[in-house]
């Protein structure tokens, strides 16, 4: 009996040490936030541990707001957001967060007008007018003048917008605020706003669904969603005066155009960016990393992840429909990684 117990101990203790040792070596990183980059993040967080087998990353796409809240409460190691944090939000954080742009996305106008199969061209004024409810018919002169030769019907425009709080709405309203003083004054930019017109639908799929089945309607969806679902969408006139149809190149171009005037903390909106080919309704999405990480193993893992993301990781962006970062921004971010202490 006694011998058996000793034998058991002899066997169990090394096993326990082995198990405990391997668990100890594994660094578990928790992160939460934006839903828009979730497909690329889940790809990255699956690929990165293949390079660094000791790291495991758990990302919950609970929304940008939730990501910022969890980061403030210290329940996650880093957050992710589709809109840069405001000064006020940063001032309330115990540890100052750093912004790291990861990939780019765009927002496109999509519409359903019976009898019109061409891609429409939208001027900034026309888009703002439609979503303000001031342009209420498809044959309005503001639309006709930029779309010569298109037989626009004299039908009432039905506006469809996102009902759920979303980074997509933030980018779209941020753009409208930049190009239309009336929009800026009466509505403004946020993840949810007080819409002057139209009906709200939940998610990209909700907006796309309503637009698809409602004649004479217009809505806005993420570029990725439009590409993956083979939806048609219109082009928008950019700051340089050219009508640009969104694709990965024109979105990256918007970031390159904005790179010159990029602030050191990367908190920048790139809507209505300069650049001949720049698509005007584009945005970065950011990782929010605390500037001070106490656990050295976690610090090593997170900075390693950031480095890999900027170099090896970017090649995964394109196939998933995200525009990769321009070189200028990558170089700038590589320097900023040193700020994580």
């Amino acid at each position: 009996m006694r011998n058996r117990v000793v034998l058991c101990c002899k066997l169990l203790i090394p096993m326990a040490l082995l198990l405990g040792g391997s668990l100890y070596a594994k660094v578990l990183i928790n992160a939460a936030g934006a839903t828009f980059p979730f497909p690329i993040y889940s790809k990255w967080f699956e690929e990165f541990p293949k390079q660094e087998p000791d790291v495991q990353i758990n990302y919950q796409s609970i929304g940008s707001g939730g990501g910022i809240r969890q980061l403030a409460e210290g329940t996650v190691d880093f957050g992710a957001s589709d809109m840069p944090m405001t000064d006020e939000q940063i001032s309330r954080m115990k540890v100052k967060p750093l912004h790291f742009p990861t990939v780019l996305g765009g927002v496109v106008p999509t519409y359903n007008i019976p009898g019109v199969s061409q891609d429409l061209k939208f001027t900034p004024d026309a888009l703002a007018g439609i979503f303000l409810g001031k342009i209420s018919k498809w044959d309005d002169p503001a639309l006709k003048s930029s779309n010569p030769g298109v037989a626009l019907p004299s039908a009432a425009i039905i506006v469809v917008h996102r009902s759920d709080g979303s980074g997509t709405t933030f980018v779209f309203t941020d753009y409208l605020s930049k190009v239309s003083p009336a929009w800026k004054q009466s509505v403004g930019a946020n993840t949810s706003v007080k819409w002057p017109a139209g009906i709200g639908a939940k998610g990209n799929e909700g907006v796309a669904g309503y637009v698809k089945q409602t004649p004479n309607s217009i809505g806005y969806v993420e570029l990725i969603y439009a590409i993956q679902n083979h939806m048609g969408y219109g082009s928008v006139r950019n700051a340089a005066g050219n009508f640009v149809k969104a694709d990965l190149e024109s979105v990256t171009e918007a970031a390159a155009g904005a790179a010159k005037s990029m602030p050191d903390d990367f908190r920048v909106s790139i809507t209505n960016a300069p650049g001949k080919r720049a698509y005007p309704i584009s945005t970065f999405t950011w990782l929010l990393v605390p500037s001070k990480i106490d656990d050295p193993a976690k610090k090593k893992a997170i900075t390693g992840l950031l480095r890999w993301m900027l170099l090896g990781g970017q090649k995964f962006a394109g196939p998933l429909g995200y525009a990769p970062l321009p070189k200028e921004v990558v170089a700038k971010e590589q320097k900023a990684i040193a700020l994580v202490n």
């Binding site: 939730g66 980074g167 007080k194 009906i199």
Partner: protein
């Protein structure tokens, strides 16, 4: 309930307590008491958390939160009235449609239909109650909304357009679509529970009515339904509670526009829908706390309506009829 259990429990000393404990009665009482009190505890924690979580909004807006119409996350101005209005209107539309329909169905299934048909129908109805609400929402988006937009609303506008409820452009999505899909969702509850209540009416009651020379309709309408009244009212209020709190299906078809309009064609918003929509991306303390306060408002609304239900039950019971 409480008085009933207290009167059943004998006044006993320590010895009797131990005897009962050994017999298991006392153990059963304590265990079930613990289970019952978890319900109270959950309610208490819920109210406390909602109250605590909404502190910033309560201090900032006070009672005005209940009566202001503005919901502007950019300017950080928040008022609950459009959401309260939308919640009440969609639930009222749902009840208006579902109650007569379901009662008729329950009476047929309990009183008139052959047993086999009744059982088969009941099985299907209970199946409907188990369908997830997102399925109802999808059905509403792809069939109900186009139907309303292209046929029903233009027709209503033409025939009943003189009423303020049936005016304005027809989007398809709006109060009417939400009310209709809610009606479909709560019908199974009312039918199923009412049918059971009608079955529970003693056979002698029916026979007595028939013996007095009543027709079958008179017996059903004047004896059986009043006798089963409590069960029927209970089913209606259970259904109402479901309608008030239904989230996904409503969010998908109500149009999500926080403004108050008389027309049922217009897009609106409900409390549950705005919580589902805006909670995840809400940044800023005031915004978040206002959403939590909306949760508190929904809780209060449900409580007020439940209290009214109890009152109704008490009032109708006092009037004295077939039921004790």
């Amino acid at each position: 309930m409480v008085t009933a259990t207290q009167s059943l429990r004998p006044q006993a000393g320590a010895g009797a307590f131990w005897r009962r404990l050994v017999n298991g009665d006392e153990v059963a009482r304590l265990v079930t008491l613990a289970f019952a009190s978890t319900v109270l505890l959950i309610v208490a924690v819920l109210v406390f958390e909602l109250f605590r979580g909404s502190a910033v909004a309560r201090h900032r807006f006070g009672w005005a939160f209940f009566v202001t119409q503005n919901w502007d996350p950019v300017a950080e101005q928040f008022g609950a009235l459009p959401f309260i209005y939308g919640t009440v209107v969609t639930s009222a539309v749902a009840l208006l449609i579902a109650v007569p329909l379901s009662l008729g169905a329950a009476v047929f299934l309990a009183e008139l239909a052959p047993q086999r048909i009744s059982d088969a129908c009941t099985f299907l109805i209970e199946l409907l109650a188990a369908v997830p609400s997102v399925i109802y929402g999808l059905m509403a988006i792809f069939t109900l909304v186009p139907l309303l937009r292209d046929y029903v609303q233009p027709f209503l506008g033409k025939t009943l357009g003189f009423l303020p409820f049936f005016q304005g452009p027809s989007f398809g999505a709006g109060y009417l679509a939400a009310g209709l899909i809610l009606a479909v969702m709560i019908c199974p509850f009312i039918i199923s529970i009412s049918r059971e209540a009608l079955f529970g009416v003693p056979r002698e009651q029916r026979e007595a009515a028939l013996a007095l020379g009543a027709t079958q309709w008179e017996s059903t309408w004047q004896v059986v339904i009043p006798h089963a009244r409590l069960g029927i009212i209970g089913s209606v209020f259970l259904a109402l509670a479901r309608a008030l709190g239904e989230t996904i299906a409503v969010t998908m078809v109500i149009g999500n526009d926080p403004s108050i309009r008389a027309s049922l064609f217009a897009p609106g918003y409900t409390i549950a829908a705005v919580l589902a929509n805006e909670f995840t991306e809400a940044t800023g303390e005031l915004y978040l706390d206002s959403l939590v306060e909306l949760g508190l408002v929904l809780f209060l609304l449900t409580m007020v309506i439940n209290a009214l239900a109890q009152l109704l039950v008490v009032l109708t019971s006092r009037r004295g009829s077939a039921h004790p």
